[in-house]
């Protein structure tokens, strides 16, 4: 624990959550096919706390990864719902990390090629010549080809409009208070209702993180009948407990028993 605490990570140095995760894994000589999820999640959360509030888009991407890690961790703790789950919950993450690592390697080689090419110069001056219109050239295009192309045209309305989702930093504190208030008012609340007022995914992520941590402290309990069915948050036995420490260091608040997955 102490040695992990000394692991200083500047998130600005990283191109994204995969880059940061790879750094955590490779710098500690961790076997990528057997990632200790609890330890890596804790280190990851600690690292992204440093993310500046200016980089809100970036923060959202790191938070999504944090949520994915927490999900993996939860799935490793819980027994498979109906026995069909025999795949390691870490498999897709490992595949992405390996793929990303390879892309990074290729990008390095492209940089070398770019540098070599930069040392060669093409003809600087090319005499201007009048461009003659190539209108007299025989054309072998048939109307059938034009109609085939026409059939493939898609109306713009059918296309997904490219829109950018703007995220703003969302404090864990805000979500802790929201959940505590909700279960104080009523015995239970559906997770979806807690996140309904916001469109951005970062709200769902932070609400889930807050809910998981409150669940660990038995302030609430989380119930889901089966995978993908609605998630309910119930009032827990410790509902009156002081949770004011949660905003500051949620990264350290990862439960000890979760260590067992490593």
């Amino acid at each position: 624990m102490t040695s992990e605490g000394l692991l200083v990570v500047e998130t600005e140095r990283f191109r994204g959550p995969l880059d940061l995760l790879l750094h955590l894994i490779r710098s500690q000589d961790i076997d990528i096919f057997d990632i200790p999820v609890a330890r890596i999640t804790r280190q990851f959360l600690a690292a992204i706390e440093e993310l500046s509030a200016n980089d809100v888009d970036e923060a959202g991407e790191f938070l999504e990864m944090a949520a994915a890690l927490v999900r993996i961790k939860a799935r490793m703790l819980l027994p498979g719902p109906s026995g069909e789950e025999d795949q390691d919950p870490r498999a897709e993450l490992v595949r992405r990390l390996l793929e990303y690592e390879q892309i990074r390697e290729i990008a390095l080689r492209l940089r070398t090629a770019e540098n070599d090419r930069g040392r060669r110069f093409a003809k600087g001056f090319v005499e201007p010549r009048p461009r003659t219109i190539a209108g007299d050239v025989p054309l072998t295009v048939t109307w059938d080809e034009v109609m085939a192309a026409a059939a493939g045209v898609v109306a713009p309305e059918e296309r997904e409009r490219e829109h950018r989702v703007f995220t703003r930093p969302v404090a864990m504190r805000e979500k802790v208070d929201l959940i505590v208030a909700a279960v104080t008012r009523a015995r239970r609340i559906e997770f979806d209702r807690l996140i309904a007022p916001w469109k951005e995914r970062v709200h769902a992520v932070m609400t889930l993180l807050a809910g998981l941590e409150l669940g660990r402290r038995r302030v609430v309990s989380l119930r889901q009948r089966k995978p993908f069915s609605p998630l309910w948050i119930y009032r827990g036995s410790n509902v009156g407990a002081d949770v004011s420490d949660m905003a500051a260091d949620d990264a350290d608040a990862v439960p000890n028993e979760m260590e067992r997955d490593s």
Binding site: F121, A122, K123, G124, F125, E127, R129, P130, R131, T132, I133, A134, G135, V137, P138, L139, T140, V141, W143, E145, V146, M147, A148, A149, A150, A151, G152, V153, V154, A155, P156, R159
Partner: protein
Amino acid sequence: MNDASIVEAILFASDAPLTPGDIARADETLDEDRVEAALAALRADYDRSGRAFELREVADGVQLMTRPEFAPYLERFDTVPRTSRLSGPALEALAIVAYRQPISRIEVEYVRGVNSTGVIRTLIERGLVEGVARGEGVGRPVLYGTTSRFMEHFGFASLEDLPRPEDLPVVLRESETTSDLENEEA
């Protein structure tokens, strides 16, 4: 690395004429006299070995240029087209112009979802499409339509003859989105 090679490299890669003084800045060991000597050596070398280019004095200095006797080859090279066929993107753009004319480049791009500057230029060069009017709005964009060459090539007597089969996408049948689009682009 001899002087002449350095001078040749600089002349080759420069996009503007250079004076001997300019060239001399390339290396501490060079000065105008040495550059002049290198230029004379290169000139003799190009003549002797029958290069297709030569050193020519222009207003602001010297420049490497192809010899005038090669002009007919360059001209032919420029005018003979690479292919008599149209690419897939060009066919798509042609279909859009044909059914939605008169149509601006921006509208073609809106329908295709990708930049279409290049394909429209190709269609103009091939004589299938031309500017036929100016649209409303900022900058009064050029509106494109098909040419008489287009009609001849595909054997249509008038635009009414363009087949409009059942399965023709709706977006090619109507052109009502123009005004929405202009608001959006503004």
